[in-house]
Chain length 190, copies 2
Amino acid sequence: MLADREPVTLRSLVEGTGASTMAVYTHFGGMPGVWRAVRQEGFTRLSARLATVPRTADPVHDVAALGVAYAANAIESPALYRAMFDAVAELEDPAGADSGLAVLVDAVARARDEGRLAAGTDAAGVATRLWLAGHGLLALVVQGVLPADVVPGHSVETAVALLTAAGDEPAACRTSVTRAWEPSTGRPRV
Amino acid sequence: MLADREPVTLRSLVEGTGASTMAVYTHFGGMPGVWRAVRQEGFTRLSARLATVPRTADPVHDVAALGVAYAANAIESPALYRAMFDAVAELEDPAGADSGLAVLVDAVARARDEGRLAAGTDAAGVATRLWLAGHGLLALVVQGVLPADVVPGHSVETAVALLTAAGDEPAACRTSVTRAWEPSTGRPRV
DNA sequence: TAGCATTGCATAGCAATGCCATGTAACGTC
DNA sequence: GACGTTACATGGCATTGCTATGCAATGCTA
């Protein structure tokens, strides 16, 4: 229903299943519970997808590759992405949502520890800012304000700016980030 | 009602006004029309606020000052900010929304033309990325995911990174941006 | 195995919501 | 002063989320 942009109502959910509306209350406690479960599922899928991003010898490339996976996930399921952040503060299991950010923090920390970023780099801060910028971009894309084809361009420029500011060498940074975003690598299209 | 987090229903709107629900249909065409008008009003207020940001001798400071005004506007009326971007693609007058971004583009272009940014800088691109990052941050703040007190820190770091990447000298850039965000200048608190 | 408590859910109905058909009163125009 | 138009009050309709009630299947105990 989300993918088809159909309105998700209590009765439309049970229609065709042979079940009655009470089944929804038994399992989810009501419509807010259904949306909670949808959001949780969204973050679970996101975490699973980020976990499939391979670790290469280039830590800065890997940071950008996480961004690619994050963007692809959002663009392939825009309605789910919207639902996820529609009331993200009400998640019952915030740890599931945080784990995605934790993966990014680890990748940034590795780039720092391997010498690509400055020694004193605040990995959590840099990772958060990468995520914030990506979220701002994708939030507008999934609502139709911006077309999806501007995602790689803005993502590359913002990632290069933030990672260069964190100490990476500009030319090498751009090479690493661009390589993750170029469309010929067989990863899911955005 | 938005500020008080009360549910905005057709009947609660007309309650106490002595009018009936039909008045809403005459003037707005229905509840979606009411929300359209709310969004338009939100962007009108935002544009008005951005227009009050003074132009100083430091164009990079002025770019950051627009970000401060934008953030203050969102944080002072979080429910309005949420409503604005809840269905921003359905605005009947997108020009009103674009005018805010145009002000930022002009400020970035001025910074470029006055020599602070590289001559070939894509002012619209840089301005858009500044806006995207700010929107990502504020969207999460107004939903309660992040506390408002992290706004200045992330805003300064991201703005410095993006403007430095556009050619500004790092130390001068940080000075200009920080000056716009420091709380002792008498601007509205965030 | 018989009795009983628990669980899951179908039925039916309630309150609230957005919306609209109808009627009516005020207004402007000739 | 008659008439068409506009704005809106009244009342009611369909849909929504929700829940009180009852029933049947399941599992536990003696």
